[in-house]
């Protein structure tokens, strides 16, 4: 049994953007904690501890949501290829895949300022 069964598919539709929201809150939270506890002053090679943590968190978030997008896209392709009536309306599978892809793109774009903006000023 996969997640692509009813009514769990509604949760899958919401999952990508929920993870995006979690990533936003986590990035903002780590940034706030880092500025309070002085992580911007601790160097880890070419990066500060603060920026290293943020980069890690951001890329991990993108990766997780991209994997979700990959999985949901796979369900959609399988439903298209089978020739059998899918267990769920194709529309819901399409929506799950599209929401996950959009959420992955949104997470990627949202974290771009980590590459340049000053952290605690």
């Amino acid at each position: 049994m996969t997640l692509a069964t009813r009514p769990a598919i509604l949760l899958v539709i919401a999952l990508g953007y929920t993870l995006w929201g979690g990533a936003l809150v986590a990035l903002y939270g780590v940034l706030s904690l880092g500025c309070v506890f002085g992580w911007e002053e601790v160097m880890l090679g070419p990066l500060t501890l603060q920026r290293g943590l943020l980069l890690l968190l951001w890329l991990l978030s993108v990766l997780v949501i991209a994997l979700l997008a990959w999985q949901t896209w796979g369900w959609l392709q399988a439903a298209r290829a089978d020739g059998q009536p899918p267990p769920l309306p194709r529309f819901t599978l399409w929506l799950a895949a599209a929401c996950s892809i959009a959420a992955a793109g949104a997470t990627l774009f949202m974290g771009l300022p980590i590459l340049g903006a000053s952290a605690c000023i």
Partner: protein, 842 residues
């Protein structure tokens, strides 16, 4: 006895259904719980509040039309602009789209009513009474005066010592009961109470929008409700929460407010976009272009709108990188909004648009909303926002968004659905004059405000010097405001003339394909005489004879049975029929409950706390009696619905709508709890004056026992449910008794911790700790009440292997309480330990 009674003719069926579903005339109308009646009441009441908000806007424009106007002084002016914003946002916009949704959704979804008619009626009374508190305060000169977002410290006791701020905090919280109730009702109804065959991909686009909006309300409103409760606790009892001299922080209020406040803009816009997406295809004579892309866009806007809240706080001193995150999210939301706009334009371009009054208002919507969206992207860019922050540029921007994105579509919707509401056609073509007066007046008023803002005029000032050169712009803006008001007055006249004297209309005057036009017009109380089986998103377009067939009782449930109010609940994904939903009849219970709730809120406002407790007890007692309607002492078994199909009634089904309602209510509850924990961590990390002088100690054992009790209650609830499902009601009663004892013990333990905990008035740490303890205590208390209710149901023979819904609902609550309790108490203990360790280390 449970067999259907098939009437001899469609007329007789109509008469029987009307007798069962309708309310008695005169005072009996106050007992109405029907969605058509409630929808109309919400719409009319919201429009009356709109008129009040409009008059207040005229007073604002009169005051600042020229420099040094001596119309009103600063104290009254503060009340006027605060009430204008408050009334328009909370008493007009939200209830107005709720009214349309309540009226339209059952008809669009091909069903007879929403899932919880009494909750809808209760919500309406809460809205009316809560709004009346605010207007009464305005009439006696004690209205809120700290701005519609009530920023602390201005709204804190030292700077707002009167009752004004309390009126806002308590009145708006009262009104928000209505919004939360409506959101749960709408969400469950869209997911479960649709015509058989209406799978998710066949759902009307308006229902998709309302589905998104309902979830947004459930997640977005609780932070504001929490903020209001905390601020009122600070004002009334001196708790330290937002006061920086006692470890609090004003920014916590801003966060809690805008986590609600920014999604709120989209909560208002998305229903209007749903109406636009419904009307445009009808006017263009073709189906909506890119249906599934529009659904994707609505979902995307719903989620992304929660990532923008800090863009209202760019100027408070947040690090550049954090600003970057929120600026990026602010830009992202323009993409799905743009997809919707291109879908609408594409639908129009590929169809044959009819240019009538609704279409004219939609054109006005396009023009104004796109301009508002463009200035929105401008203020999403941090450096520009810092230049225009708190100036009239921002006032212009959000009026373009809100009036363009909500008022114009609502007026299009009013003209489009008026024949449905009244059964009559418009007269004299006054709508064209209404449009041009409102459109020209609006742009004259607000376009010029961009310039006034760029010239540096700050918001909320009650007067200014002529030397600034703002006079001519303000005068023209005020003239524009009055032109717009004449337009709205003409709109009222047009609607009244149509409702009273307009020529009768036939069914489906616009040639639409959606199901609301398959009902009789004006709408009957039962909506559909029989329920359609849906095979397409445009069922009416594909079967123009559908209204006659349904009226003749040829659909499902085309009969009466034991005077029950019956409709069908379905599988939320595929649309297969699953249950017969037995709905409650007309009753005064919602009115009495709302009056008791009003007693609670008014007593809080007047600080007569014994009376407030009495109001709360009466409210709970009346709610207790609500369950009588669905209580049965024998199983009904599967019943025929027509077409050879039999279905169980909802009380004998696994996951009835009421079970789902509690799931979604707990989602809102979790949002509030999450906000509370965020508050504690935010203050700990950001606020000055930490660590606190005194931390929680000597309560660890009590807290651990309370956590064990909560976990035990959840486990005992499962045992009781399992026993009931096996038909062993006696054993279920025993487990339930232990469950009640576990909750009672938790209440006592938490009360004991509260009496020895640090003083919540001394430091914000103690204030938030006390709030978390009270939160868990209330949940355990409600768990106790639910256990007592199950005890009564078991004793009266209302529980059986098939009828275990009460226990299932209770189980949800006990599980949630256990999880929230363990997290809450664990957080309290963990934070205390860390602060103690840091203190020892330091």
């Amino acid at each position: 006895m449970n067999e259907p009674i098939r009437p001899a003719s469609p007329v007789e069926l109509h008469r029987d259904l009307e007798r069962i579903w309708g309310a008695h005339p005169g005072l009996g109308q106050l007992a109405a719980v029907n969605h058509s009646t409630l929808g109309r009441r919400f719409i009319v009441t919201a429009f009356l509040f709109f008129a009040v908000g409009g008059i207040l806007a005229m007073l604002v424009r009169a005051q600042i039309a020229t420099s040094h106007t001596a119309f009103v002084g600063p104290e009254i002016y503060n009340q006027i602009f605060t009430m204008h914003g408050t009334v328009m946002m909370f008493l007009f916009a939200i209830p107005m789209f709720e009214g349309f949704a309540i009226y339209l959704l059952p008809k669009l979804l091909g069903t007879r009513d929403l899932a919880f008619p009494r909750a809808g009626a209760y919500g309406y009374w809460c809205y009316l009474f809560g709004g009346s508190i605010l207007l009464l305060a305005l009439a006696v000169g004690a209205a809120p005066d700290a701005g519609w977002f009530m920023y602390t410290p201005l709204s804190s006791k030292p700077f707002s010592p009167g009752i004004n701020a309390d009126v806002w905090l308590i009145g708006i919280t009262f009104v928000e009961i209505s919004a939360i109730g409506a959101a749960v009702e709408v969400l469950v109804s869209i997911l479960l109470v649709r015509a058989p065959g209406m799978s998710l991909d066949r759902m009307p686009i308006f229902a998709w929008y309302m589905l998104v909006v309902a979830v947004m309300i459930l997640v977005g409103f609780p932070p504001l409700i929490l903020g209001s409760i905390l601020l009122e606790a600070e004002r009334a009892f001196g708790w330290a929460l937002f006061d920086p001299t006692r470890g609090g922080d004003s920014l916590l209020w801003q966060h809690l407010f805008w986590i609600f406040g920014h999604p709120e803009v989209y909560i208002i816009f998305l229903p209007a976009a749903g109406m636009v997406s419904t009307i445009i295809p009808v006017m263009a004579g073709r189906e909506l272009l890119g249906y599934r892309w529009v659904v994707l866009s609505a979902i995307s806007v719903g989620f992304l709108s929660f990532g923008l809240w800090v863009h209202h706080m760019y100027a408070v001193g947040i690090p550049h990188l954090a600003l970057g995150f929120f600026s990026a999210a602010s830009m992202l939301v323009a993409i799905p909004t743009g997809v919707q706009i291109f879908s609408w334009l594409g639908t129009l371009m590929s169809g044959r648009p009819r240019f009538n009054v609704p279409m004219l208002f939609l054109c006005g919507f396009f023009f104004i909303f796109v301009l508002g969206g463009l200035t929105g992207v401008m203020v999403a860019v941090v450096p520009f926002d810092l230049q225009v922050h708190d100036t009239y540029f921002v006032v212009a921007h959000f009026h373009y968004v809100l009036v363009g994105g909500f008022v114009f579509p609502i007026m299009a919707a009013a003209y489009y659905w008026m024949p449905h509401l009244t059964g009559r056609q418009p007269m004299f073509q006054l709508g064209y004059a209404v449009f041009w007066l409102v459109f020209i007046g609006f742009n004259l008023t607000f376009f010029l405000m961009h310039l006034t803002g760029l010239l540096g005029m700050p918001r909320r000032i009650w007067t200014y010097s002529e030397s600034y050169g703002w006079d001519w712009l303000n005068l023209l803006s005020s003239i524009g405001g009055f032109v717009m008001t004449i337009g709205f007055a003409l709109f009222v006249l047009d609607i009244v003339l149509q409702a009273r004297f307009g020529p009768k209309t036939g069914r489906n005057p616009w040639g639409a394909g959606s199901l609301e036009w398959a009902t009789p017009v004006p709408a009957t109380n039962y909506g559909f005489a029989s329920i359609p089986t849906v095979a397409s998103r445009h069922q009416l377009a594909e079967d123009p004879d559908l209204p006659r067939k349904l009226a003749a009782g040829e659909g499902l449930l085309g009969f009466t049975r034991r005077n029950w109010l019956e409709t069908i609940a379905i599988d939320m994904i595929t649309g297969e029929p699953r249950q017969i939903l037995l709905l409650p009849r007309r009753t005064f219970l919602p009115l009495w409950t709302a009056l008791a709730t009003g007693l609670f809120f008014v007593s809080l406002l007047l600080q007569v706390y014994p009376l407030a407790i009495a109001g709360l007890v009466i409210t709970i007692a009346i709610f207790w009696t609500w369950t009588r309607h669905s209580a049965r002492t024998a199983d009904l078994g599967p019943l025929p619905v027509g077409d050879g199909t039999t279905l169980p009634v909802h009380t004998e089904s696994g996951h009835a709508p009421s079970w789902w309602a509690v799931v979604f209510l707990l989602l809102a509850d979790a949002a509030m709890f999450g906000s509370l924990l965020f508050g504690l961590i935010f203050l700990w990390v950001v606020a000055p004056g930490w660590p606190p002088p005194e931390i929680l100690s000597d309560s660890t054992a009590f807290a651990l026992i309370a956590m064990a009790c909560l976990l035990a209650a959840a486990g005992l609830g499962r045992l009781a449910l399992r026993a009931a499902r096996k038909g062993a009601v006696g054993r279920a009663l025993v487990w339930n008794r232990f469950l009640a004892a576990a909750h009672a013990a938790t209440v006592l333990l938490l009360a004991a911790i509260l009496t020895t905990a640090p003083d919540p008035t001394a430091h914000a740490y103690a204030g938030v700790n006390a709030a978390i303890l009270v939160y868990v205590l209330i949940h355990a208390g409600v768990g106790l009440i639910l256990a007592l209710h199950v005890w009564q149901a078991c004793r009266r023979g209302m529980v059986s292997a098939a009828r275990s819904l009460d226990l299932m609902i209770g189980q949800l609550w006990h599980d949630y309480t256990a999880v929230a309790g363990v997290i809450g108490l664990g957080t309290i203990l963990g934070v205390a330990a860390m602060i103690a360790q840091a203190g020892a280390g330091g």
